[in-house]
């Protein structure tokens, strides 16, 4: 087993442990404590139509791409 596979298994184990399979760690922010998180100012992508456009503006003019949290591919940027 190579090093990358081993790291993935470690990652999987930790995430599963955090997912509720383990009873030792409980979610520490209760549903009734999430008012602030639900406020529009906490929304990463308030309006998808506007976010998609500004991503396209930068993607067409910069060499870097990806890890923007949105689906992509085939932007027709030539």
């Amino acid at each position: 087993m190579n090093n990358t596979k081993a790291k993935c298994m470690v990652l999987a184990s930790i995430l599963l442990a955090c997912s509720g399979c383990s009873t030792s760690i409980k979610p520490w922010v209760k549903p009734y404590e999430r008012n602030n998180l639900a406020d529009p100012v906490m929304n990463w992508q308030l309006d998808p139509i506007a976010s998609a456009y500004i991503h396209h503006v930068f993607q067409a003019r910069e060499g870097a791409r990806g890890a923007e949290g949105t689906s992509g591919g085939g932007c027709g940027c030539n």
Binding site: T4, K5, K7, C8, M9, V10, L11, A12, I14, L15, L16, C18, S19, G20, K26, P27, W28, V29, P31, E33, R34, N36, L37, D39, P40, V41, M42, W44, L46, D47, P48, I49, A50, A52, Y53, I54, V57, F58, R61, E62, G63, A64, R65, G66, A67, E68, G69, S71, G72, G73, G74, C75, G76, N78
Partner: protein, 396 residues
């Protein structure tokens, strides 16, 4: 913590790409496992958006409409479609140096379906972009899973794209390229005021990857200017990796401060960093303002030069300013006003929005050949652009 270990930079980019693929398969395993033991997430809200967009700068004028519709079908399915047009009028420095200004139109259609099952959302999408000389089709598949009391969201996705490239005025020119994207994301509610996020994305390209209209510049003693141009030659493969971290913190008085950072690297030798800092503020119940700064910098591709010593000097040669060493800084402001457009019971809310971004591009090894100075001593090119997004949204 573990993710930081996995994204440590290594020299072998294909190895890095394989790591992202393994991470995505690992994420798939976790999602499948947890789908069996979880309950309830939500689909996106039903909404309609109509936007006018405009980009003006560097001799380019691009504007047009974009329409987005999203509607639930039953309790488990949401469908969305987007229709987008770019109307381009170009007299950029690339065009003026070697060709004539032109006008063209790009149309893009996309359709996606989201399926909700317990805490899992499966998304399948298709998009098609069409120009007179460029067709791009792509298929997207994404999975998102909430767990740990809905404090954690794990997502991963895959896209496959096919491009068909032609050249106006040259009927015999026809090339293709394919693209595959592998995405992995993790969002974590850290406290009742703080959300953290992480994204990884590996992209592979294969085929004809350059722009058939772009040229590289080389020294030519037979030319009056001392240089001539020839068609660029790009490598026909490219693999890139990007990793980003983000945080958003709720402040008193209905405000939030947020930051994003992204690192990027590819097999063409481009390394890039992106940083963004922003502030959002709600006020008077129905207003929202957002202010942000974004800085981007990159190194040039290995095969980029502003001026080559001679024609056919290397196997690969490019002079695209997008492949050069440069940085850009943008400053942006968004204003949103929420209101009830009608008393009709099926309308929940509506908004009118205006976003303005100003971007300054400064190139460090791409010279302005239009300056008509001695070859190789022309000033480095720079330009600024203004981006406007004006749109109305309706929730129903």
């Amino acid at each position: 913590m573990v993710v930081v270990v996995v994204i440590n930079p290594v020299k072998n980019m294909n190895g890095e790409y394989m790591k992202v693929k393994y991470l995505i398969f690992t994420a798939l395993f976790i999602v499948v496992f947890m789908t069996l033991s979880s309950n309830a997430a939500v689909l996106p809200e039903d909404r309609a958006d109509a936007m006018y967009h405009s980009y003006q700068g560097g001799g380019m004028s691009i504007d047009g409409p974009s329409i987005l519709l999203r509607k639930k079908i039953g309790k488990s399915v949401s469908v969305s479609t987007n229709y987008y047009i770019d109307m381009v009028s170009s007299a950029s420095i690339d065009v003026l140096a070697t060709a004539s200004p032109y006008k063209e139109e790009r149309k893009e259609h996309s359709l996606s379906v989201d399926y909700l099952h317990d805490k899992t959302v499966l998304s399948l999408g298709y998009s098609q972009s069409k120009e007179s000389d460029f067709d791009a089709k792509s298929l997207h598949f994404d999975v998102s899973q909430d767990f740990f009391g809905d404090l954690t969201t794990l997502s991963f996705g895959f896209s496959k794209g096919n491009d068909e490239i032609s050249q106006n005025g040259n009927e015999t020119f026809k090339e293709t390229a394919t693209r595959a994207n592998y995405r992995l994301g993790l969002s974590q509610v850290a406290t009742k005021n703080l959300v953290l996020g992480m994204n990884l994305e590996a992209i592979t390209d294969e085929g004809y990857l350059n722009n058939p209209y772009r040229s590289y510049r080389y020294q030519d003693a037979n030319s009056a200017t001392g240089f001539s141009y020839a068609t660029e030659i790009y490598p026909n493969t490219r693999t890139s990796n990007a990793a980003s971290l983000r945080a958003r913190y709720f402040l008193p008085n209905k405000a939030a401060i947020y930051a994003n950072a992204r690192v990027f690297s590819d097999t063409w030798g481009i390394d890039a960093n992106t940083y963004k800092l922003g502030y959002s503020q709600s006020f008077m119940n129905n207003w929202l303002m957002d202010f942000h700064l974004r800085h981007y910098s990159q190194t040039s591709a290995d095969f980029y030069r502003d001026l080559f010593d001679r024609q056919d000097q290397f196997n690969f040669m490019a002079r695209d300013k997008e492949m050069s060493t440069f940085n850009d800084l943008s400053i942006g402001l968004t204003t949103r006003y929420l209101f009830k457009i009608s008393s009709a019971p099926w309308i929940k809310s509506s908004s009118i929005n205006l976003s303005i971004d100003h971007i300054q591009f400064d190139y460090e090894n791409f010279r302005n050949v239009l300056a008509e100075q001695q070859m190789g001593t022309e000033p480095f090119y720079s330009f600024s652009a203004n981006v406007i997004r004006f749109y109305v949204s309706l929730w129903y």
